[in-house]
């Protein structure tokens, strides 16, 4: 555990000693702010219209109308920012030769992979913290329910974990971080649009693609439901990604 934390700490520090953390958080904050304004305007207009047409009895739900679509849009932001975070984790170590230090230190492959995963997750956590500012504003001017927000954040965190573990694996395959970044982006995009073919290709394919779609599993979380099947899906996805990364590092040794 001590070793894992040492590597996670080093990873997090290296994000901040270069431009990556600042660019990722900057892009993240910009996109999120834009989404916030767009959805807020829509929300304000809808509630005004509803007021005009005499639907006073039925209050407009902030959680349902504003926070839920907002956090669902986080998946788009992940698509663009997380490849930047994960692309260099392994490729840079391989290119600069520092991987030799890690692989000849008394660490197991699992400790190295886990440390890198937690380091990237810590940066992702910081990015999520930025979004809390906007949500906090809503608490000042309105009274949203906090429980569905917590479950939605849990979902978004798990979702990010899946993408990070996948990104780590892709980064472990190449020395070139640009290649790693592009492939990661392509694979993320594929997971994002995987359900598109589902509706035209019969019920089996539909079900399969829905199950594979990392984003679809987020839906229940944003409604305030913690369904264990989704939690297990995410956790097993993360585990599988990390497993592949450990194997990839190990294979690299054999091939030399």
């Amino acid at each position: 555990m001590r070793n894992i934390l040492a590597i996670a700490h080093k990873e997090l520090k290296s994000y901040f000693s270069g431009p990556i953390a600042y660019i990722a958080i900057g892009i993240w904050a910009l996109l999120y702010g834009y989404f916030f304004i767009a959805i807020l305007q829509y929300f304000v207009r809808t509630s005004m219209q509803m007021g005009q047409f005499g639907a006073q009895q039925q209050a407009v739900n902030v959680n349902q109308m504003l926070i839920r679509p907002l956090l669902q849009n986080v998946t788009i932001m992940i698509l663009f920012t997380l490849p930047m975070v994960t692309m260099r984790t392994y490729s840079e170590e391989k290119r600069s030769g520092t991987i030799e230090l890690l692989l000849t230190s008394p660490l197991t492959d699992f400790e190295i992979v886990m440390g890198k995963f937690l380091g990237a997750m810590a940066l992702y956590g910081i990015m999520l913290l930025v979004t809390c500012i906007h949500i906090g504003l809503l608490f000042i001017y309105g009274s949203p329910e906090w429980r569905p927000i917590v479950t939605a954040y849990l979902g978004v965190l798990l979702l990010g974990g899946c993408f990070v573990s996948l990104g780590l694996f892709i980064s472990s395959l190449t020395k070139n971080q640009i290649v790693a970044g592009m492939i990661t982006f392509a694979v993320f995009l594929l997971f994002w649009i995987i359900t598109w073919i589902g509706s035209f290709s019969g019920p089996t394919v539909d079900k399969l693609t829905q199950y594979l779609s990392i984003i679809d599993h987020l839906d229940d979380f944003t409604k305030g439901v913690i369904d264990t099947s989704h939690v297990i899906y995410y956790l097993s996805f993360i585990t599988f990604g990390l497993f592949l990364t450990v194997k990839s590092v190990d294979t690299e040794r054999w091939r030399g």
Binding site: R2, N3, A6, I7, K10, K13, S14, S17, G18, S96, G97, T98, I99, E100, L101, L102, L103, T104, S105, P106, L107, T108, R253, W254, R255, G256
Partner: protein
């Protein structure tokens, strides 16, 4: 301390190291000598647990590097060919990270880092970013990184490559100092380095061990007879006749002539020191003895003779192979 048995490493169809075996005793410095691409780095990477061997066994500090890699790595310090530095970290940050992952207990960690920085003389660079260091400092930080957890075994891949002459001398001295508490393997393709720092030498060529011995023995082994260089001022007279009469001398050849001073190469029977007799004979003849020194085969020559011998055998064997192929 280190035992390597029949180590073989193949990358696909290319054999990088073939059937390498040697031992290193505690406190010894072993030189790993060979031309570029001979398999030095591969062997070292196997010993440090960076990559597994295709066949064979390696035991470091009592632990098999394949079966108990973490235990073996805990007792090994490794300086790769390019020091594995994180350019964004300062030297101090870097060393404390390395100390952490190498298991230096947090209680004495700060003191240990300070001591190692002192020893490798990088204290004044403690707050400089690793990426901004000069080559010499990088190498020293790399060395500091390798010794930070006080390992039993130190494996140094070309520790003096790319340094200036002063730094090379300093690094060699440091390595010699370290030899007391650590067992060291260092690789190099610079021959004098081996004779200056190492107690034993493994010469490796094309993935195979060509010779294992002390530098002195290697020199002696390849020397059929003892040869002395004698420079005499015999005022124009030929001294070779009287030199030839010295007991033990087998052959005298004039090698150079500068004015009145004539140089001779005097060969004698092996194991017989004829220097005293030579000097007495020259002085009693009334000549001036200007120079008298043993001529040794340098490691360069040994190395060349060992590796080219191999090449000759290879070329001799080739036509047969071709015939078989045809």
């Amino acid at each position: 301390m280190i035992e390597v048995q029949h180590l073989t490493k193949r990358y696909g169809r290319v054999t990088a190291v073939e059937d390498v075996s040697f031992r290193v005793e505690r406190g010894e410095i072993l030189g790993f000598l060979g031309p570029n691409g001979a398999g030095k780095t591969t062997t070292m990477r196997i010993l440090t647990g960076y990559m597994p061997a295709t066949e064979g066994k390696a035991i470091v500090a009592g632990f098999d590097v394949f079966d108990q890699p973490v235990e073996a790595k805990r007792r090994t310090g490794y300086l790769p060919e390019t020091p594995p530095l994180y350019p964004d970290m300062t030297v101090l940050e870097y060393l404390s990270f390395v100390a952490k992952i190498k298991g230096v207990p947090s209680a004495g960690r700060a003191d240990r880092i300070r001591a190692v920085m002192d020893r490798t003389r990088i204290t004044d660079m403690a707050h400089r970013q690793c990426g901004k260091l000069s080559k010499g400092y990088r190498q020293r930080v790399g060395l500091a990184q390798a010794i930070i957890h006080n390992p039993d075994v130190l494996i140094l891949d070309e520790p003096t490559a790319g340094l200036d002459p002063k730094q090379i001398i300093e690094t060699r001295q440091l390595i010699k100092q370290l030899a007391g508490d650590h067992t060291i393997i260092l690789s190099t393709h610079i021959l004098p380095e081996v004779s200056q720092t190492c107690q034993r030498v493994v010469i490796i060529n094309k993935g195979k061990v060509v010779a294992v011995d002390t530098p002195d023995n290697l020199t002696a082994r390849l020397r059929g007879s003892e040869t002395m260089y004698v420079q005499v001022d015999a005022a124009g007279a030929d001294a070779s006749g009287s030199l030839r009469h010295v007991p033990g001398v087998t052959r005298v050849v004039e090698s150079d002539r500068r004015g009145a001073a004539i140089g001779y190469e005097v060969e004698s029977e092996r194991g017989q020191d004829v220097r005293r007799e030579l000097a007495r004979s020259i002085v009693s003849s009334g000549w001036g003895l200007l120079e008298l020194r043993p001529m040794r085969m340098s490691l360069e020559e040994i190395f060349l003779s060992l590796t080219t011998e191999e090449a000759q055998q290879a070329t001799a064997a080739e036509p047969v192979g071709e015939a078989a192929n045809a």
